[in-house]
């Protein structure tokens, strides 16, 4: 009893003694919020409001601002502040904004811009990104382009803003190639179509007289590879968007799934069937030499390279059910990575390299999910009736896929449409297309962006 009292007394003495010693005030901040950043994008102001072949310069300035705002909001990372609430009117004068006028609106990032027509008829667009809290300019870039190209410039500026505020490359100056579908379910007309990532500038690349399937973009060139039944013969085509030329890679009558490019764009990997058995092959586009990578009685399909080209993810039923496997680029060292309930299909390695996206089939649904290349950290990002065919944005943050509602769900039953979802799974949006759409494939950034970086 005495000993315990003495012990308590000693502890109190020690605690009392510590009063004299004041440690440095250190505060651990282990929490935060992930709410969208408030951003203001006033209309880009013309130096002189002249009439151009595309319209009045002030209208173009307003449209550029609209496109930038739309792009940034679509990421789910930013929230646009209502323009009606703006206190300061941004003019073309090259002056700093009055930050005090933006702080009451809780604006953290402000984008200002000015337009000017050059003597040669080109449009000069300048923008500045301001940190309203820190009262500093974060970015300031000018572009010169034909006036008709204003929309593209808006995407390029969006990329710069996104890159500066998030630290990763933007994906707004990109395109989506997909299959546009029309007609009855039993006689669908399928055409290869291309559009900007936000659904603008829709164009058809084929006329629908023959079936096209599973387009895939080259990761570093503006080239598409796709499967087409031209004259009822399945052929793999290569289409260069910039030169507008088609090229036949080869006749592959036994092809079971779409070809996909290697990261350097010099190879195409695909699955071919023989005697009812599908295996994975790779074709060198320079020598046209085809090499077999897997030789298993199971069905091996949907191969996709890792960004460094050293490994390949594919799905196979060699273990009894359709699961995901990873192997080295030469076909060795095959390892199963998916072990969850249900089946796994269409794996696609992220351009970042840190994740593999897939379609998970189970519980009566097709859902889009991601997992690490070692199979850990599996997460499902969507939860609709039928979501499939994921494709990554070039920065590896957003996935696009196509969603097909069940047939009993009103007029849109069975009609596919394009959707996007980011890695959080919360920012799910429909991508507008004029017709039904399936099989999207995301392009790499268009050349101007990569040249600027």
């Amino acid at each position: 009893m005495m000993a315990s009292r003495f012990g308590i007394f000693l502890i109190l003495l020690v605690l009392a003694g510590t009063n004299a010693v004041h440690a440095q005030l250190v505060v651990d901040v282990n929490r935060g919020n992930v709410e969208p950043v408030p951003i203001a994008v006033p209309e880009f102001a013309p130096v002189e409001d002249v009439e151009t072949p595309t319209g009045k310069l002030s209208d173009i300035g307003a449209s550029i601002s609209d496109v930038i705002t739309s792009n940034l909001i679509s990421t789910g990372l930013f929230r646009a502040v209502d323009r009606n609430a703006f206190i300061e009117k941004i003019t073309a004068a090259p002056t700093r904004p009055r930050f005090a006028a933006w702080r009451p609106l809780a604006v953290q990032a402000l984008v200002t811009g000015r337009l000017n027509m050059l003597p040669n008829g080109n449009l000069r667009v300048e923008f500045r990104l301001w940190d309203v809290v820190g009262e500093v300019q974060m970015e300031g870039v000018g572009y010169t382009t034909p006036v008709s190209n204003w929309r593209r410039i808006a995407h390029v500026i969006s990329d710069r803003i996104y890159s500066r505020l998030t630290g990763e490359e933007g994906y707004f100056d990109t395109r989506i190639v997909y299959i546009a579908e029309q007609g009855d379910p039993l006689s669908r007309v399928k055409r290869l179509a291309i559009m900007d990532q936000d659904g603008a500038n829709q164009q058809f690349l084929t006329d629908g007289s023959y079936l096209v399937l599973t387009p895939r973009f080259s990761p570093n060139r503006q080239e598409i590879t796709y499967l087409s039944y031209f004259n009822d013969r399945p052929r793999v085509y290569l289409y260069n968007i910039l030169s507008n030329k088609f090229e036949v890679l080869g006749d592959f009558p036994n092809m079971t799934f779409a070809p996909r490019f290697s990261p350097d764009g010099n190879k195409v990997i695909m699955s071919l069937a023989e005697d009812g058995n599908s295996d994975i092959y790779v074709m060198d586009l320079r020598t046209r030499k085809v090499t077999r990578l897997t030789d298993d009685p199971g069905i091996d399909t949907s191969p996709s390279y890792s960004p460094d080209g050293s490994r390949i993810v594919f799905n196979s039923d060699r273990g009894g059910t359709q699961q995901l496997y990873v192997m080295d680029a030469d076909g060795s060292n095959v390892q199963r990575i998916s072990f969850g309930r249900g089946r796994y299909a269409t794996p696609v390695w992220s351009p970042r390299g840190d994740l593999v996206a897939f379609t998970k089939i189970g519980e009566g649904k097709f859902r889009i999910g991601v997992m690490r290349p070692d199979g850990s950290g599996e997460r499902l990002l969507t939860n609709a009736y039928q979501d499939e065919g994921p494709t990554w944005s070039p920065n590896g943050r957003v996935l696009m896929f196509f969603r097909t509602p069940p047939y009993n769900q009103g007029a849109n039953g069975g009609k596919p449409s394009l959707w996007s979802v980011d890695l959080t799974g919360y920012n799910e949006r429909q991508v507008p297309t004029p017709f039904d759409a399936s099989d999207p494939a995301w392009s790499p950034p268009l050349p101007v962006t990569t040249r600027q970086r």
Binding site: L12, V14, L15, A16, G17, T18, N19, H22, Q24, L25, V26, V27, D28, V29, N30, R31, G32, N33, V34, E35, N84, D131, V133, G134, S163, L165, T166, G167, E168, A180, A193, Q202, Q203, F204, L205, D207, Y237, N244, K245, F246, E247, V248, G250, D251, F252, N254, L272, D279, Y281, R288, K289, T291, R292, D295, R352, D354, G396, R397, T424, P434
Partner: protein, 291 residues
């Protein structure tokens, strides 16, 4: 070699032979030739630009809905508000209708005894105020007098206070919990600052490797808690290099959080008492983002 060994060798050899035979016959894949890849086919250029690059029919452009909710203003002035029955003459201010004050119903008078009535007649209920005896000529003398009285009283009060303090000092025992109390107070301050900063910090969630990033911000505050100078990240190196793009955004998010959360008046007392110059904020999202 004994007979049993010979039989054993023969048995073993026949078994091995049997296994090899079964393998060759039963596993046809061994003998099957490896599938040859399909032969490459010559390249063929197809120019179908004119035929296939059909522009999509442009969907009808919907007129942009005006988001502004302002009601359309009429282009004519509103009618002047006219009184129903205009008065012929403008009434004078005096002629304002006097508000009828509805008098509250008189409370029933308490029954007054005859004795009380008599008292009321003889003695007034309240004394009339006497005229002020304060004369301006005497104010100065009054002030001097009050000062003298205070001076005489003050030493006595001080003596009493000192006596009380001495008594208290004698009675006071050493406060063994004062250190603990100080620690609790500091812990409360740290928790309060942490919670405050958490509400201001917008995490760059989704950025590659953000769950493994850490940054310490050094903050100098004035006596009223406002920032003495911009917050300084500690030991981050060159964050402007391209390979540190994600980390730069992370550091900037912490800097922005500090600027948004300033001032920090709750910390000024602690800093003054301890003589410290700055606060260190460790931004660590690993727990929040599940890193």
């Amino acid at each position: 070699m004994s007979k049993s060994e010979t039989i054993g060798w023969m048995f073993s050899a026949s078994l091995h032979l049997g296994v090899v035979t079964v393998a060759l016959v039963g596993l046809p894949d061994w003998s099957k030739e490896r599938l040859t890849p399909p032969p490459p086919i010559a390249i063929e250029f197809v120019k179908i630009a004119d035929k296939t690059q059909v522009a999509a029919p442009e969907p009808e452009e919907k007129p942009q809905e005006q988001t502004a909710t302002e009601k359309p203003q009429p282009n004519y002035a509103r009618e002047e508000v006219v009184a129903e029955a205009p008065a012929e003459a403008v009434p004078l201010p005096d002629a304002k209708p006097v508000k009828k004050v509805t008098e509250p119903k008189p409370k029933p008078k308490p029954e007054i005894s005859a004795r009380n009535k008599l008292i009321a007649r003889t003695a007034p209920q309240s004394k009339p105020k006497p005229p002020s005896r304060l004369k301006s000529s005497r104010i100065a003398a009054l002030i001097d007098r009050s000062i003298k009285e205070e001076q005489e009283q003050a030493p006595k009060d001080e003596e009493k206070k000192e006596e009380k303090v001495e008594q208290k000092k004698e009675e006071a025992k050493p406060d063994l919990l004062s250190g603990l109390r100080g620690r609790i107070a500091t812990a409360n301050l740290v928790t309060a600052l942490s919670n405050k900063m958490a509400s201001c910090w917008r995490l760059p969630a989704g950025a590659k490797g953000v769950e493994d990033m850490r940054v310490t911000m050094k903050i100098w505050v004035t006596s009223d808690g406002s920032l003495l100078r911009p917050p300084e990240p500690v030991g981050v190196g060159d964050i402007n290099s391209p390979e540190n793009a994600f980390f730069r955004v992370f550091v900037e998010s912490a800097q922005r959080a500090v600027a948004l959360c300033a001032p920090f008046p709750e910390a000024t007392e602690y800093l003054r008492e301890t003589g410290q110059q700055y606060i260190l904020f460790n931004f660590d999202p690993s727990q929040f983002l599940g890193g």
